[in-house]
């Protein structure tokens, strides 16, 4: 597919969705995707990310808010007339039609000339490696193949925006990883604008240019994956993004020192609040032999091997800490240190981040 895609720019302003019965699925979510960028809506199930995607597709109607594609309002445009390609979580292929017609149906209804239909279907089939499957019915395909057809059905239309609702979640782990890389490469090659929904933070980190982290129908934080990883805006974001999960300790600040249950270490400068939650990413934990500055003693309670790293669980005071460290024969007790500039500091009352960015 040679750069014939006209990628669109999508904006949503304060989108709210109330379901009958009074459930508020979305509460004033604002977001935007620039042309050729990949935005991931990330969040736990029930956070409203799929609902938001379905509103963009026109499958649901927002209760309030505005939606524009390249500056034009989408509000009154029915699903079939929006220039969007949708990939369903369970593929939703037409079981009674051949792969070829699954791909071509959208073009047929849009009165694309027959010659162009077959050349476009051919192109997409080649791109996705499903050229040999065109005569088959969906039920004669493996899960991965069905997934490709579902993707192809969106691609043949050359829409301005691709919408993907957890497209990889029905694949087994191995296939999922392969498809993830393929998708990333495909998005780059097409220069397509993509809105991608997932609850898998790894997928979000791998695929996105931007992540919109959602919880309980609200946008929590948005930004490039690394920024969200490095400076999660609150305790939820901190624990949701990143695997293995960040450790969070509750405690109090006392003249620049943090004290949790039986552990003390130095805080970064400029922390005014007293009641704190401090987060430590497993990969930021350093272990050492001797008692150097700012270190504390920890007891090894569990070692899980993860290839070139060990995931080690420690007990420090009455707190639990998880760390990623190079494999070794673990003694029962070690000294542990976390550089204070790598700590994530949150207010214990609001759970919002309060440390200042490090230059």
């Amino acid at each position: 597919m040679k750069a014939k895609v006209v990628a669109g720019t999508l904006r949503g302003e304060r989108i709210t969705k109330d379901f009958p019965g009074g459930t508020r699925a979305l509460d004033g979510v604002t977001f935007s995707v620039d042309a050729g960028r990949v935005l991931t809506l990330l969040g736990p199930s029930g956070c409203g990310k799929s609902t938001l995607l379905r509103i963009v597709a026109g499958l649901e109607t927002a209760t309030a808010g505005s939606l524009t594609l390249d500056g034009e309002s989408l509000t009154d445009v029915p699903a079939g007339r929006r220039d969007v390609g949708f990939v369903f979580q369970n593929y939703a292929l037409y079981p009674h039609l051949s792969v070829e017609r699954n791909l071509s149906l959208a073009l047929e209804t849009r009165k694309v000339p027959r010659g162009e239909i077959s050349s476009r279907v051919g192109e997409v089939a080649k791109l996705l490696g499903i050229g040999k499957l065109l005569e088959r019915r969906p039920r004669q395909l493996s899960g991965g193949e069905q997934q490709r057809v579902a993707l192809g059905r969106a691609l043949v239309r050359r829409p301005r925006i691709y919408l993907m609702d957890e497209p990889l979640s029905n694949l087994d782990a191995l296939l999922r990883e392969g498809m993830r890389s393929e998708l990333r490469a495909l998005f780059g090659r097409l220069g397509a604008t993509v809105v991608y929904v997932t609850h898998d933070q790894g997928e979000a980190l791998a695929l996105s240019d931007e992540i919109l982290l959602m919880k309980d129908g609200k946008a929590l934080q948005s930004g490039p994956p690394l920024e969200i990883y490095r400076r999660p805006a609150d305790v939820f974001a901190a624990t949701f993004v990143g695997s293995p999960r960040m450790t969070i300790w509750r405690g109090v600040a006392e003249s620049g020192t943090f004290e949790a249950r039986g552990v003390r270490f130095l805080l970064p400068d400029g922390i005014d609040e007293r009641e704190l939650c401090v987060g430590i990413r497993p990969e930021d934990v350093e272990t050492m032999a001797d008692a150097s500055d700012g270190s504390f003693e920890a007891t090894v309670t569990l070692v899980e091997h993860a290839g070139d790293r060990d995931l080690v669980s420690f007990r420090a005071g009455e707190e639990i800490l998880r760390a990623l460290a190079p494999p070794r024969d673990w003694p029962q007790k070690v000294r542990v240190r976390v550089p204070r500039e790598k700590l994530h500091v949150f207010s214990a009352t609001t759970e919002r981040r309060i440390d200042r960015p490090v230059r």
């Binding site: 597709a57 026109g58 499958l59 029915p78 699903a79 079939g80 007339r81 969007v84 390609g85 949708f86 369903f88 979580q89 369970n90 939703a92 292929l93 037409y94 079981p95 009674h96 149906l105 959208a106 209804t109 849009r110 059905r153």
Partner: protein, 277 residues
């Protein structure tokens, strides 16, 4: 051992049910093949001896059975087509009408079927006369299609509702309008329901007697049911049982073949509606 007894009981019950259902039909077949003197003999003669096709032959000679069958096939076929043609969009629209309206409309349709058709006979007759449709196939096709419409809509709506929502959404996103959605997606995916509805409407139209007898007065226009009614003896005191039985068998056989032909699909269509009731 524990399970054997209930199984034997079940087998017996099934056999009894089959015998109960088939006995009248079998009796008709046997009577059709008996010589005249055995038909009414006391004590009853059960099996024809010798087997005779005399009744079939003389029936064919006396009455244009082939014409009746052709009329019935044409009228039942057209009624079925029309009924499905009207029911499919209705069922499709009902599926998107929202739960409350859908329920109200479906139950309204059900209520209509309770209305005894005999009450329609006189008004229909007036209408047919005014339109000059006596002895015209439309006089039967339109009422048959209309009377079977609630049934068709119910069965199709049931079938459509089994189609995964995402598939319909995919169709909407692919830009399919209501008509294409029905023809390209819903009917093919609800094929068992479609076949079930079509067969039931066809059987109803084929078997309908009252309207057919009233509106089709010319022999060449009669359907098979009306035609059979005109099989009579040489006097009003003589009833030609053999020929009547032969006529009934001839009228029923096409339906039997039809049902056998689509048996698999009907079965899955009926249970389909049953499971998620």
């Amino acid at each position: 051992m524990k399970r054997l007894l209930p199984r034997a009981g079940l087998a017996f019950a099934v056999a009894a049910l089959v015998a109960w259902s088939l006995a009248p039909a079998a009796w008709q077949v046997l009577t059709a093949l008996k010589p005249d003197r055995d038909v009414v003999r006391v004590p009853t003669v059960y099996f024809p001896h010798p087997v005779t096709f005399k009744h079939v032959a003389s029936l064919w000679e006396r009455k244009p059975i082939g014409v009746y069958l052709a009329n019935s096939a044409g009228i039942a076929g057209a009624s079925t087509f029309l009924s499905i043609l009207l029911a499919a969009p209705a069922a499709s629209a009902l599926g998107r009408a929202g739960e409350r309206r859908r329920r109200v409309l479906l139950h309204g349709l059900l209520a209509l079927t309770v209305f005894p058709p005999i009450l329609l006979l006189y008004p229909l007759y007036q209408g047919v006369r005014v339109l000059g449709w006596l002895n015209h196939p439309l006089a039967l096709v339109l009422p048959y299609a209309a009377l079977s419409l609630p049934l068709s809509i119910w069965i199709l709506e049931r079938g459509f509702s089994q189609i995964p929502r995402a598939v319909e959404e995919a169709a909407a996103l692919d830009g399919l309008g209501p008509a294409r959605r029905v023809v390209l997606i819903q009917l093919p995916l609800a094929a068992p329901s479609l076949v079930t509805a079509a067969i039931l409407v066809f059987i109803f139209s084929w078997n309908e007697f009252m309207l057919a007898l009233t509106f089709m007065t010319r022999d060449a226009r009669k359907t098979i049911t009306a035609g059979i009614a005109s099989v009579s003896g040489s006097s009003i005191f003589e009833i030609p049982w053999g020929q009547l039985s032969a006529a009934i068998v001839i009228a029923t056989l096409p339906l039997v073949f039809l049902v056998l032909l689509f048996e698999k699909r009907i079965a899955s269509g009926l249970t389909r509606g049953a499971i998620k009731g």
